[in-house]
């Protein structure tokens, strides 16, 4: 057991823990049985006191055996019931929350009509006062506001608040439907807990649409180039040893400057195998600019659109000769994890594994017949942005990135790739049966292969 890690299959994460405790108790019961059967031959009659002591030991061990077996059985039953109950309760709660959000949206839209004129007047007043302030005072106010916002950042690492944000984002589409006058009952029927016709992806599509109207598109075409100095041969390749653990895979994820790394291997049966590593979002990228690993692509991916970064990975795989028959393991971090999930589930590739870390991919179902491992930090804001986790066969590993009392740097420290690398190493050492089975099921590559890295550039649309 690694400290602080929780492992589960699908949306629930506690079931695996219940089963683990149950197995440990069953094992203790079996060992107590082995001890109990060894005691009677030791009562030889040499000393009545010793025989009485051994009698007492036997009785105690037998009682402990029965107790451990009962507890193990109760825990197994509880795990089964808990799993079923958790799913049905979550669905019922979501339906009620969906109706509440729609009703709140309806009320707020009507209220908004009344208070918007007042809000506009107040905002105009603030702008006027700001303009009247001398330059030095404006800087002071700006500094104060920055300090106040920085002071709020630690709160964004609170798992309870992050869970609330996750739920609120999942309900945003319901509130929006309520705002335009759709009755709450119909909203619940259309949402994720009903027919699944609306969801966080529709909210993301609306945001993407508004961004497109403002001239920012996350779905513009891209150009890819193999990275390296040997440009006459189309870039460099290098020899690489096959990945042998989760941490090894996570450690190979590139940065956003060369966001795609593809490793090609030959499996024991002579068939080709590919490992692809996909970078996370470039935090400094201009929205809708040349760097496709930007927020515009992020929103497009959550909206299930053909994001520029997604197109880049597809093109790189095509350039490496990957076909629908090539065995392929996708590994990605943050936006790269969402791309990895989308491609693994696309049906266009023979996916043989998926490893995603810190990805906003909760709204993307993972249903394929391949080992899938999702690593998330409970205190990371980014996985929360895709809303409540949906149907998933993936093994979900959740850990804490920032320890109690630690004062980390940066706005979202729990999203650091270095911290995810540490969690991946803990996951490698974890004794969860489901996790061990998923790691073991990833393809075994017998020999070294070659790796190529790719850069990607978004091609802006021609001027109108």
């Amino acid at each position: 057991m690694s400290d602080g890690l929780a492992v589960g299959v699908g949306a629930g994460v506690a079931i695996d823990e219940l089963e683990r405790v149950s197995r440990a108790l069953q094992c203790a019961a079996e060992h107590c049985h082995e001890i109990a059967v060894r005691i009677p031959p030791l009562r030889t009659g040499v000393s009545a006191g010793i025989d009485a002591d051994l009698w007492e030991v036997e009785g105690s061990v037998v009682r402990s055996r029965e107790r451990f077996a009962d507890l193990a059985s109760a825990l197994r039953s509880a795990a089964t019931l808990y799993d079923a109950l958790e799913r049905s309760t979550a669905r019922a709660l979501e339906s009620v929350a969906s109706q509440c959000a729609a009703a709140a949206g309806l009320v707020m839209s009507r209220l908004g009509l009344l208070i918007v004129p007042g809000l506009v007047a107040a905002a105009s007043g603030v702008v006027a006062v700001w303009r009247l302030l001398p330059e030095r005072d404006r800087d002071s106010v700006a500094d104060l506001m920055t300090q106040a916002l920085t002071g709020l950042l630690p709160a964004l690492r609170e798992p309870a608040l992050l869970d609330a944000i996750r739920s609120a984002l999942s309900l945003a589409d319901d509130a929006a439907l309520g705002t335009v006058g759709v009755p709450p009952g119909v909203v619940a029927l259309l949402g994720e807990s009903g027919l699944g016709l609306s969801g966080i992806e529709s909210s993301a599509l609306v945001v993407a649409g508004l961004a497109a109207v403002a001239g920012v598109s996350g779905t513009d075409p891209v150009r890819i180039d193999r990275a390296g100095t040997d440009l006459r041969r189309g870039g460099d390749t290098r020899l690489v040893a096959p990945p042998d653990s989760l941490a090894d895979r996570v450690g190979r994820i590139p940065d956003a400057a060369t966001p795609i790394v593809i490793e090609r291997y030959v499996l024991a049966d002579g068939s080709e195998h590919v490992e692809v590593y996909i970078a996370g979002t470039d935090a400094h990228a201009e929205l809708g600019g040349e760097q496709p690993w930007d927020m515009a692509s992020n929103i497009a991916i959550i909206g299930r659109s053909d994001a520029s970064s997604l197109q880049a990975v597809r093109s790189a795989l095509a350039a490496e000769g990957v076909t629908a028959d090539t065995s392929i393991v996708f590994t990605g971090y943050s936006q790269g994890g969402a791309i990895a999930t989308a491609l693994a589930e696309s049906g266009d590739y023979r996916t043989t594994g998926l490893v995603s870390v810190g990805a906003p991919s909760g709204a993307m179902p993972v249903r394929g017949d391949y080992p899938a491992i999702v690593i998330e930090h409970r205190d990371d804001l980014v996985p929360v942005l895709s809303g409540i986790r949906r149907e998933s066969n993936a093994v979900i590993v959740r850990g804490d990135a920032v320890s109690v009392g630690e004062r980390p740097d940066g706005p979202v420290p729990a999203h650091d790739l270095a911290r995810y690398l540490r969690t991946a190493a803990q996951a490698d050492a974890h004794d969860s049966e489901a996790l061990r089975a998923a790691i073991e099921a990833l393809p075994r590559v017998p020999q070294s292969g070659v790796a190529s890295a790719y850069t990607a550039t978004r091609i802006p649309p021609p001027p109108q």
């Binding site: 823990e17 108790l25 060992h31 060894r38 030791l42 010793i50 105690s60 107790r67 825990l75």
Partner: protein, 102 residues
């Protein structure tokens, strides 16, 4: 995986109490009791720590924690009892070997 820390020799695994060699019998019995003690200690090590099921189990978790506490205390008591039996057997064997009454 369960692995007792005491290595039991093949001689010690002969059934005690055959009567031909009372000192050897007592010594063998002492070794077997020591092995049992190690096995009980190994069971104690198998029991999950309460921190490993913290945070989601509520009142049932507390009941589980309490039950495991009772069983842990019971087995710890038996470890002490087996220690005492081992000491008694060793003392009896020494006494016999020195020619004392059986």
């Amino acid at each position: 995986m369960f692995t007792p820390t005491t290595v039991v020799s093949s001689a010690a695994c002969l059934p005690p109490g055959s009567g031909a060699d009372p000192v050897g019998d007592l010594q063998r019995q002492g070794v077997l009791v020591g092995d049992l003690r190690e096995r009980v200690v190994a069971v104690l090590a198998l029991l999950p720590e309460s921190r490993s099921f913290e945070g989601w189990w509520g009142p049932a978790r507390d009941a589980l924690h309490e039950s495991l506490g009772i069983e842990r205390a019971r087995l710890e008591r038996e470890v002490a009892r087996l220690d005492s039996v081992r000491v008694q057997l060793d003392a009896a064997a020494s006494h016999l070997a020195l020619g004392g009454p059986g």
